[in-house]
């Protein structure tokens, strides 16, 4: 019976991708902390994981033959990104910027720890697999 590596690694592989996506978003928020009219974005983990779990291997992509054709693949349009939402600002700013640096920093720190945790879990799963294969 062949091993399906996707189901063996389970939700952790998708969680790693969502966390990596979140790193990019939070880094953009921090870099644009002083840009007028920039709206901070973040990922709602629950929604993003649910969408990632549902779409793995079962989505049908529309065939695109011209550059103008729309695609239903995840990430093809900003609206299709599951879980990416705008942050509600705690205090209004005159220049329209909604980035709260302290909030973004703490979210970034939390995300780094989650990423490390997911890596540790994935690593231990892969090591067990290697032990099962090599027998030692």
């Amino acid at each position: 019976m062949p091993l399906d590596i996707n189901s063996y690694l389970g939700i952790h592989a998708q969680a790693l991708m969502v966390e990596s996506r979140r790193t990019e978003l939070l880094a953009s928020n921090l870099a644009n902390a002083d840009t007028p009219n920039y709206k901070a974005r973040d990922i709602d983990f629950k929604q993003a994981l649910a969408a990632a779990g549902a779409s793995s291997g079962t989505s049908l992509a529309l065939q695109t033959t011209q550059p103008g054709h729309q695609s239903t693949e995840a990430g093809a349009s900003a609206a299709a990104e599951p879980g990416v939402e705008y942050r509600v600002p705690m205090a209004p700013a005159l220049d329209g910027n909604t980035v709260d640096e302290q909030l973004e920093q703490s979210a970034f720190a939390e995300n780094s720890v989650r990423y490390q945790a997911t890596l540790t879990i994935l690593n231990s799963k892969l090591r067990s697999l290697m032990t099962a294969i090599t027998g030692s």
Binding site: L16, M17, S20, R21, T23, E24, L25, L26, A27, S28, L30, A31, N32, A33, D34, T35, P36, N37, Y38, G75, A78, E81, V84, E101, E104, Q105, F108, A109, S112, Y115, Q116, L119, L122, N123, L126, R127, M130
Partner: protein, 137 residues
């Protein structure tokens, strides 16, 4: 999707903040540079930032562009100083419209943002290096 874009974004943030720090330094250094002619006097400089859409289609990464440096259009201050060699015929000199307190607050904000970007870059680098070690003991 590429986490390597984090380096581009954080790098652009650091570059933008250092432009901002440069303008603060220029403003503070020239806060007392008086002139005879109000159209010639030093005017406070401020950078204009803009969010830059990603060039490789990555919707999660938004870098910062410095559109340019604008000069403040507020009227320069004039003060009565007949002993100054640069005073005009009425004894007035024009001094720049630099608000020193504002510039110091700007400097603190710029240096905090710069530190945040450095931390983001370090964390992202450590995360990627740890990812490369997956599967090793």
């Amino acid at each position: 999707m590429s986490t390597f874009d984090v380096f581009t974004v954080a790098g652009s943030g650091m570059s933008a903040q250092s432009v901002r720090l440069n303008t603060v330094a220029s403003n503070l250094a020239n806060a007392e540079s008086v002139s005879t002619d109000p159209s010639q006097v030093y005017r406070a400089k401020h950078p204009v930032f803009q969010a830059a859409a990603s060039t490789n289609g990555n919707k999660a990464s938004t870098a910062v562009n410095v559109l340019g440096i604008t000069e403040s259009t507020a009227a320069p201050d004039s003060r009565y100083d007949p002993g100054n060699p640069l005073a005009n015929s009425d004894g007035y000199v024009y001094s720049p419209n630099v608000n020193v307190v504002e510039e110091m607050a700007d400097m603190i904000s710029a240096s905090r943002s710069y530190q945040n970007d450095v931390e983001v870059m370090n964390s992202a680098r450590n995360m990627l290096l740890d990812t490369l070690k997956l599967g090793q003991s």
